[in-house]
Structure formats: C-alpha cells, structure tokens
Symmetry: C2
Subunit: 308 residues, 2 copies
C-alpha cells in the first residue's frame, strides 16, 4: 500500500514515524517525490493544486485537520475523490481548555482586574449573576459539543446554534437562519466553532454581531473568515461588543498593521487553540484505512457540496 504524505512543511518526520508504526506494511512517500497518481491514500495539509490534480486513483484523501476549507473548494481536487476530515483526534480537549479559559476570564472579569492592578486599584467588582450569563456556541459538531460538555459543570446557561437542528442535553438549541438572531440575543459570550463554508463566510458581520447583548464577548476559534473584521472592530470601538479573544484570522500570520494586534479589547493568540496531534491523528487515519481495506464504512467523509 502506498501512502502519499504532504504536510506543508510542518513536522513531516513526526508524521512519517507515527505512520510507520501504525501501518508497518505501507510505503510512506513524502511529496514531492513519487507520482501522486500511484498513491492508494493521500494525507495532506494545504496541498498545492499540482498534487491534488493527480489524486485520481486514491481510495481516500485525509485532510490533516478538522477544517477542510483549504481543500474542499479547490477545483484541482478531482470531484469523485473521497475527502475525509479529522474528527477530534485530540483537538476537542484542547478546544475545551481554550474556551473554558476564555469564558471564565470574561465571567470573572480577569481583564478588568488586570487593568485595576496596572492602575494600583484595589476594588472588588460586583459579581455578575451566572443565571444571566448565557454562553452561546455557534456550531455543534464534534468540537462544539465537546466544548459544551466541558462548560456544563460551571453552570452557565448554555445555548447552541447549528445549521440543522440538534438535541443536546442541557443546552438550549437553535437551528437555521431563522433562529440565529434569537440565539445571538442571549449570548453574553459567543464561541464560534463553525466550519468555514460558502454559507458561513462573513456570517459574523455588523448585522449579526449587533444582535448580541450589549458588552458581549466574542471568542473565535474556528476560522478568521467567518468574521468581517471591520464590523467587529467598529462594534468593539463603540463598546457594543465588550471584548474578543481571537485565535484565527483571515490572513495568518495576522499582518503587522492589522488593528487587532493592539486593540485594547482584543486578546489574540497565533492559531493555537487546538493543534493537530500527530499520534492521535495517525491512529484515527490508520483505523479508517484498515476499515476501507476491509470494505467497512467510515465516518468523517466530507460532503463536498455542503463544504464540510
């Protein structure tokens, strides 16, 4: 069995090592090198069109991340190819850590206390009622659901929104465009975990962000292009949005001149909320390859027309 590997330069050796252990009978072939057209499976991250174009013979292309927006719309990828995304693979735990931190940071006003410390001000702040502090999760896939589960013990009123209706215990769920405003109106913290698709591109613009309650906090951990940066900045400037914690951006690295860098209401991190874990990912991919070889169904196949 021939496995083609393209990691966009990051940590290729670690992937090769892990794959050799998990699939000892396979030939692991980093690209560029052998012809992509000879591969049985391809494992790729941000692959160039000349690679994708040759993947006519593969049984599956595994995207080395949860978000497939960098590949799903690429016209070079043959339409009949089975594209598979990573599911969790160690990312849900990291995402839960990041989001729990962000929600507690906001609820307990640690940024305001840091400001008071800089000013030498000893001043306990009036506690926000937890019952009135709704946390809204935009996107209820594997990561959104894991984040909701991690937040549950803290007792915040949780609400979630997804394209198609879902039922999750302990969460008020909303679905589809018609219920988006109602969802947003109760989210003191909005956690964005949607995939980037044609439908979600620019979804968080002035109109939608204005539906959030005054002084809301925006946490974006999925893709930068879901947010219209200028609209978010305008609402941060006006104070309608009280703060934002951003891990993802339209252009990464975030360009030095971007206002997010030094906006007093923005905390940013360099796309580290949940990074692909090589060992967990390889175990998941190897398991799926064995299932495909055995003629069994697998999960995580991307619906190309839907975009995720």
């Amino acid at each position: 069995m021939r496995l083609l590997l393209y990691t966009a330069g990051s940590d290729a050796d670690a992937w090769i090592d892990a794959l050799r252990h998990a699939l000892p009978a396979a030939r692991i072939e980093p690209w560029p090198g052998p012809a992509a057209s000879a591969a049985d499976y391809a494992l790729v991250w941000k692959a160039p069109p000349e690679l994708l174009r040759d993947l006519r013979r593969v049984k599956a292309v595994f995207n080395l991340g949860a978000g497939v927006d960098a590949i799903v719309g690429d016209p070079a990828l043959p339409p009949e190819v089975c594209l598979v995304r990573l599911e969790d693979a160690g990312m849900a735990e990291q995402m839960a850590e990041y989001v729990c931190h962000a929600v507690l940071r906001r609820y307990r006003e640690f940024d305001a206390y840091a400001q008071q410390q800089r000013a030498g001000l000893w001043q306990p702040r009036r506690r926000t009622s937890k019952r009135a502090f709704g946390v809204g999760i935009l996107g209820l896939g594997a990561l959104g659901t894991a984040v909701a589960t991690a937040l549950t013990p803290f007792g915040f009123p949780l609400r979630g929104w997804s394209r198609a209706r879902k039922q999750i215990a302990g969460i008020a769920t909303f679905a589809g465009a018609s219920e988006l405003d109602a969802f947003l109106s109760g989210a003191c913290v909005l956690v964005c975990l949607l995939p980037l698709t044609r439908d979600t591109q620019g979804l968080l613009d002035r109109a939608t962000l204005s539906q959030l309650p005054r002084d809301a906090y925006v946490v974006n951990v999925s893709r930068g292009a879901l947010v219209v940066d200028q609209d978010l900045l305008a609402l941060l400037d006006s104070g309608h949005i009280g703060g934002a914690m951003l891990d993802v951006f339209r252009d990464e690295p975030l360009p030095p001149e971007h206002r997010f860098w030094h906006h007093p209401r923005v905390a940013l991190t360099p796309h580290i909320s949940a990074v692909t874990q090589v060992d967990e990912s390889v175990a998941q991919i190897a398991d799926k390859i064995r299932r495909i070889e055995a003629g069994l169904p697998i999960t995580g196949i991307v619906a190309r027309e839907r975009g995720y």
Copy 2:
C-alpha cells in the same frame, strides 16, 4: 429567639432581609445596639473584642466566612462558646472557577501569548505535556476537594496535601510535614487552600517554595499570611517560580508600595476568588440553628485548639 448580627459594615441590610425570611420567628438585632449578652445566637464577621467578650450566653457563634483566623485566636471570645464556620455556601463554585481559570491560564501560557501580542509577535509555542503538568492542591477541605473535582475533567495529574491523611479518588494524596516536600516537588501549579493557623502561618517560605519544580506557578486563594512575601518575591525574581496569581494578602487592601502590585510575574485580584453568598449562607445557618434548637448535631464546629 434573639440573633445578633455584626457584618463589619458590609451589606448588613441584605443579611437582615435574608435572615427575616429564613427565620421569621427570630428577632434580628444588629450590633452595636442591644446587649450581646442577651443574644441566643451571634452571626459575626471581624467582630470587635467588646462584642465577643459579651457572648457568654449564646448557643453558637456563626462566622460569616470559611476562614475563622480572624476570630478563633481572639482572647475576647469566651473559650466555652461554640464557634461554627461556613461550609461551602456558594464559595466552592466560585473557587473552582477562579482556580480552573488560573490553571488553564498557566498551562496554555496565555500570559506569554499576551506578551507576544504586545510585542506584535506571531509565534505558536511548543505545547507542554499534560502528563508532566502536575497540579498540587495544598489543603483538602471542602474548598480544596471542590477545586480538585472541578479540575478533574481537564486531565491534569492532580496531587493534594493535607495535615491528616485523606483518600480522594483520582488524586495522589500526601499528608503531614514529612510528605510536604515530596508533594511540592511535583506541583507545576501550587494552589493554596489551607486555613490560616499557627501551623500554617508562613508555611510557604523560601525553604518550601524552593521545593517546587523550576518555573512553577503559585496560586494563593486562602490567606496572605501563609506566604512569606519577601521569599516569594525573591524566587519570582530569580525565576525559580515562574509566576503567581494572588487573591489574598497579609494586609488588605494590599498597600500601594508593595512590590506585588507591579511585579511582571504577578497577577493579583482584590480578595474576590470566593465571596460569602448571603442567601446560601443564611440558608445554611438557619438550618443549623433549627438543628441546635431540636437538639441535633451540626457540622462545621471549629476545633478551637487546632485553629479551624
């Protein structure tokens, strides 16, 4: 039944309202006012000696906080009086929020990322292995146990230390002076939740803090006097201790000239990690009064000679 109330000026009206609802047959008497010697029960916070001295007739004195260090050693309090501390009463939940935030903040290096943001630096940092990131809880009472429970889902290796040995599922427990160094040596984050007593005063000095692994993080949410400030500062300066999040201090408000205010490795908050919740506290106290009146035993009685 006559209830004497002394709240050191904070929010007396809220206490009176809640007590009237919970114990409609009782006479609530704020002090100064009636003679303390006529009271059946006293509810006090940081009461002056002239009040304590007169409490000879009361069936119990309820301390309006979990820490009794401000009253237990006061020679004005008659030795035969039954002193009762608050147990949890809404504080455990707040403490869990504060500590989970502090641990995630440290583990995911959000302070380092904030520094990078100020410097305009886009640089993902190497992830710390969670298996090597021990979190140590000093003090396994109601609050320490609640904090451990709240941390459990995040998967950090947890260890706890207490005076007398305790068994708690999922935590490596250590007990007594002879096991303190072993406990400290595995605590990348040290969370201090001990009561302040003769034995714990100044417990965290240069000798004990030096047992922590290099670059450890210290979270103090119990009492400032557990820490020898100059020793903590020296170890922060040397880098042996990587950072501290401090909510409690020897003198509160923290004096303006104290170095903690502007130390680059210190985040501080004005004693807000867990504040007494009036409604929950009154419900707990009213329940205990009803039990005493019915001749039933109660929990939370302070062992005066032990100090908590």
